[in-house]
Subunit: 461 residues, 2 copies
């Protein structure tokens, strides 16, 4: 009887191996793809070297960094991060002007290009089918003496290349699994796992499956410090001390809910390994009929705040969008509307969805005043309400005065129409909202036809 478990385990292991193989066949770059990438990257770096040599920029070197350099890129993604590294005694002005000038020269042969601004300006371009970033940075002696944030990247590159030791496939599997389950990406829109973080997790635990096994038992506050050199305390759900910088948490951008989602999907996958989890199936858009049916089945009140998405990058927009939700929901709560849940979606228009216990409240509101024994306040409250014609009644309950008064906002729609612009919304959203917004209620949501929104709503409602 006792050999049943081992047998099952063996079968499971075989299943897991064949599943991983099947996925890798889909996501691992072919030799041809790899050669092409190397060729294009070399070509670009050679061009840059020639340019810097021509203008006499001594000590400037080029370096391929990121997943392309580490062999952890997924087939079909065509990103090249090429860093132009300057000696650390270069002035910031020189670095910016020479860096940009080199970028612009190279970009002449690009299919398309533009300039972007992070800590300093850099060139993004489309070149022979690749999305190329040409990023100038300082070449410093150690990651702890970096001058600008991007200077850290070459050190990450070095650490991963030195420690990954043939675990590249495991990183590919983990990245793809995180993509499929919606937790990949450390930008503020996603608040998930960065590529570097997935690589460190694989190095720390030893394999794709071991990461999932460990994650199944993760609890917020977990500390992973591969080099045991961390010096600071962090409050984040996951703390992974950067091997190249003891003061940095690589997982700082990860939100609690994305952390928990990963814990959740790790358990599910280990319970029943399922290839489909690696490839997020797009939720189909919800139809008008289905929206109406769900609204009727739930019986709650649905509201949508719709405004024009401001023309700013995601990393500026999404924190403001979160701030908006965190301002609107308490405002509704304060006015005694019970918010069951809130959600948001952004395309050309942005939408904050709100599901309320009820969109209307009775006219009467219990207005609790001060305790009777706090004489000054009590007397003022009493004078204001005791013979007030508008008030319904005035009583004492648990030692406090309670005046029943007419409610200021009996409709959530009216409340939002009046007070939304006064909420704390963030600069760009505030401007957009002040320019105009709509509050849709219940079936009026059918007016929002965009497929992207309807897909979101299908998952959310």
């Amino acid at each position: 009887m006792n050999d049943i478990t081992p047998k099952n385990t063996i079968i499971e292991r075989i299943n897991m191996e064949s599943l991983k193989k099947s996925i890798l066949e889909k996501i691992k770059p072919t030799e041809k793809e790899r050669e092409h990438l190397t060729k294009v990257a070399d070509e670009l770096m050679y061009k840059i070297d020639c340019l810097t040599f021509k203008v006499g920029l001594v000590g400037v070197k080029t370096q391929l960094v990121g997943s392309a350099a580490r062999g952890t890129w997924i087939s079909g993604t065509h990103d090249l991060d090429i860093f132009i590294t300057f000696p650390d005694d270069t002035s910031r002005e020189d670095l910016e002007s020479y860096g940009l000038s080199v970028g612009r020269q190279v970009a002449k042969e690009a299919e398309y290009w533009d300039e972007h601004y992070a800590e300093h300006p850099y060139v993004k371009m489309r070149y022979k089918g690749f999305d190329v970033d040409l990023v100038p940075c300082y070449r410093v002696s150690s990651a702890s003496s970096i001058i600008s944030a991007v200077d850290r990247t070459p050190f990450h590159n070095e650490f991963i290349k030195a420690n990954l030791n043939g675990l590249e496939d495991d990183v590919l599997l983990l990245k793809q699994f995180m993509r499929g389950t919606g937790v990949y990406g450390s930008e503020l829109k996603t608040e998930g796992f960065s590529g570097y973080l997935t690589e460190l997790l694989v190095i720390n635990y030893g394999s794709f499956e071991k990461v999932l096994e460990a994650a199944s038992n993760w609890r917020p506050g977990l500390l992973l410090d591969i080099l045991e050199h961390g010096t600071l305390k962090f409050d984040d759900p996951l703390v992974v001390i950067d091997p190249t910088d003891p003061k940095r948490n690589v997982a700082a951008a990860l939100s609690l809910d994305k952390f928990c989602t990963f814990v959740d999907v790790a358990r599910s996958f280990l319970g029943i390994p399922d290839e489909s989890m690696f490839f997020s199936s797009l939720i189909p858009p919800i139809s008008d009929i289905e929206i109406v049916e769900r609204l009727e089945k739930k019986g709650s009140s649905l509201l949508a705040i719709v405004f024009k998405t401001p023309d700013v990058v995601d990393d500026i927009f999404y924190p403001q969008f979160a701030k908006m939700e965190n301002s609107v929901v308490p405002m509704l709560d304060k006015n005694e509307f019970t918010v069951l849940k809130a959600g948001k979606w952004s395309g050309e228009d942005s939408v904050v969805m709100l599901e309320l216990m009820s969109g209307t409240l009775p006219n009467v509101k219990m207005h609790r005043g001060p305790p009777v024994w706090v004489r000054d306040h009590a007397e003022k409250f009493r004078d204001k309400y005791v013979d007030n014609e508008d008030a319904y009644s005035f009583t004492i309950k648990d030692g406090f005065y309670v005046a029943e008064i007419p409610r200021k906002h009996v409709s959530a729609v009216e409340l939002l129409e009046k007070e939304l612009a006064n909420c704390s919304l963030g600069k760009h959203i505030s401007k957009s909202v002040k320019a105009g917004f709509d509050i849709l209620e219940g079936k009026q949501v059918l007016e929002l036809k965009e497929d992207g929104f309807r897909s979101f709503l299908n998952g959310w409602l």
Copy 2:
């Protein structure tokens, strides 16, 4: 300019004096009334003395106690408390049997009488227009060595008679003021001020007005210890240490809200002295039309739980009635019905009134599960709801699983109909409720026609 205040104060004082005089004319017994009371009391005590002498009860004495004995009774009230005091070495059996037997003998000449049971049995009777209590008790050397609770009364009598010193009129005014404002009476129905407590307050502060002035600034937790001999800590809103027993709080029965009501009315009266506050004007019964109008104006949901009042004394019934309210309201809250306020009235039927934000809730309920990282519980919760056909959706919010599930009770009426009998109701109310009850909703409350209820509702709704 400066003499305006003194002048006003003099005018106020004159007004207050004439107001007090006018009230005393209405509530102070006339000489004739007083003589009649003394005559009837003496007559009864003589009868008792003769009876005890006849049967050879040595050492038994009779004593008039209570407000009649202290000159603090209000004209028109006809209560006589006659205590039959036994030596403290009398056995409890003898005290009870002789006490009752003497009472029964005297009662032969009563217009009406019956037997009551407190700590031991006693006779209540109607005799020549008076409500007479004939209470047997032990005659002990000090209040700290009492054998039964009633043994304390003669000591109260003694202390008040020795210390009231001509302040009887102030006690009359205070009692009548408390009656008029609904805070007089220490029984469990009222949870207000006892007669003895009003007498102690007048002794402590010196006059009727001084009690009100002090009360205007009272805060819960106030300690009055006239003899400065208290030995225990009490948690009550007002603590008045019994001058005859350092371990007893005379104000133990006073609820926080009655304490606060007294603070409130004391301030009002001192602000604008108003004779009508001494005589509670009966609130007229509310009409059908007015109920409907108020319901429409408020927009809230009104419910009434109606059951037959059990046949028990008030001091048994009212604590159970309070327990019922304190059980039903949390049960509604737990099921997410927002109770704006609750109230109760009791006549032949008893009624718990409930005003709700809404009597119905949406079908969907947010059911928050365990945090995702508490693996055991999280996995059980997930298994139960994640692919549950009845559930609407399953998500992670702030680290917790949230399942949207169908609500068990969408109607407060149905919830009460199903669950009321399972609430903690107290023995007699539970029995009555199990025998049958009605839940009335909104305009169905019009079915309740009793004047007493309609008066209550007029003040409450």
